[in-house]
Symmetry: C2
Subunit: 350 residues, 2 copies
Amino acid sequence: MSDCVLVIGGGPAGIEAARTVADLGLRSVLIEQAQRLGGAPISCNYAALTPRFADAETGIDAMIGELAARPNAEVRTSTTVTAITGEPGAFTVTLSTGEALAGGAVILATGFDHFDPGRERQMYNYYQYPDVVTLQDLEVQLKRGEVCVPSTGKPPERICWVQCVGSRDRNIGNEWCSKVCCGVATKQAIEVRKLVPDSRAYIFYIDMRMYGFWETELYWPAQEQHHVQYIKGIITEVLERGERLLVRGEDTTMGRPLEIPMDMVVLSVGMEPSVGTRRMAALLGVAQNRHGFLDIADVPLDTVTTSRPGVFACGAALGPADLEDTISSAAAAAARAVASLRRGAATLAG
Amino acid sequence: MSDCVLVIGGGPAGIEAARTVADLGLRSVLIEQAQRLGGAPISCNYAALTPRFADAETGIDAMIGELAARPNAEVRTSTTVTAITGEPGAFTVTLSTGEALAGGAVILATGFDHFDPGRERQMYNYYQYPDVVTLQDLEVQLKRGEVCVPSTGKPPERICWVQCVGSRDRNIGNEWCSKVCCGVATKQAIEVRKLVPDSRAYIFYIDMRMYGFWETELYWPAQEQHHVQYIKGIITEVLERGERLLVRGEDTTMGRPLEIPMDMVVLSVGMEPSVGTRRMAALLGVAQNRHGFLDIADVPLDTVTTSRPGVFACGAALGPADLEDTISSAAAAAARAVASLRRGAATLAG
């Protein structure tokens, strides 16, 4: 019976899970394929976190620092998992470095990938027009404390967000709602309006899914204090028209065609199961739902137990998740993993 | 240094937190004011859980059974907390029974109350018309396996749900979105259409907040398989007209007034901080947000640590939460509470 929990994936979910395991008195080893921990908020250069505008790098670095301070928590970066054998209480995981690790339980925290807008069926022309960007492209600018139209280097006079790019779309096979894009786009629109007070900001949406306190912490201030304009409408194409972009679609509230010039268009790309999530699911033999995310059979009363005994999962590997979902489910997965080893040890002792 | 965690509130959050504490090797005492455990799903007679239609009573009873099987988990029902003294590691909680309990940490799982539609500023006439009911009134019927118009006892030919009753409404002071009502109303509409195949079902909404997999598990099947009709519109009043109800408002997509007869109107009432949440926050001196829910300062990277050291919180006491949020944050609160006691014990030992 190993007293170690192996955590695969070093984003916010994996960091939180590994730290929690250590805080509960067992050992954890966190395995991350990238050169450094942090996951999407770091690798994609998030500026401020939704909903309270806390600095992303500061927040994630603090979590990494907390983990590093635990003597019973180890980290392997630039490392992937290549094989797993054994059973609950006694797994052996082989790493790309050749190292073999013993662990009593495994936590999958393999996260999501951003939707590639090159796969979009509408004609948003992300790869054709430099001034069509994604949420994460704009985050990079915001992290530098600026907003500029890529082709001119000037601040945008008119900027819009197109929601549900790669989400809620049967044609491309992504039927789910990605949950966070309404909040993230609204956060960005507020930041842009603060940085470029003369700009006009528009968000084209199907439903604004500003659940819980996002309604009053983000959605109302965006409209009332920052004059972000929300237009319920479907955008079907983005064209070049002179030095500007022309956004075309339908304003569903007004029931009429919509054609509106923009300096910059931000595609609110959704979440997909990451390559690592699919690979680890296959390697470990863990059930996936029909979308490719990891499946939890007993949702909603169990949120972290996978189909394989001794293997738990958390964060956006399970489906679209905001950071609160991610942090809570990570700690929950850690608690379940530790409990499973305590129970196993008690059974052996008995 | 006590090895016991005191959990206040015996709904899904409290049950999960208390069980998790016990599974992590400490003792827990779960304190519930009602005569039995289970919280809203039991006291309000929920039929099937959102989103997968699992039987609510079966699921919650299984959780209660799991808790009861832990020798290091105790339960006090019909009991409230009347005083608390001490500090992290050594709290003393006085109960309404006169008993004094020692605990090293406290978890608040005091949940939510359903919005009272008598406080609504629109004229929905819940207390005037028997055929205007709430989500939880309809759950009682669904749990009996039936749907009937209260005044006639017959199945409804036409039934509608009015979303955002007591939510997203500055006039009544409830500015937040209650997060789950879109999903619960859709779940109920599917159940009604199955039970009464000849009925017509309408949902009047502002935004359908069917986040994540609710989009594809509930929203699409409701429309495509069960022919639930979604109308984006604001309902301003419900009147009696002959033997039927007349629902009046505006269809915002069509941009025209809306007047439609119904046999039965279901008010999708939102979540408010429960009386117990407000009372415990005051008694324990835990910060509340301006809405009255318990405040977590470091959201989103910490989801359970309150303003008072040694006191953690979870579930809908923190704000509108679905059952997945609740179960994950409950386990997270348990993990944090146990970790805080382990850390305290290590400090004393050192």
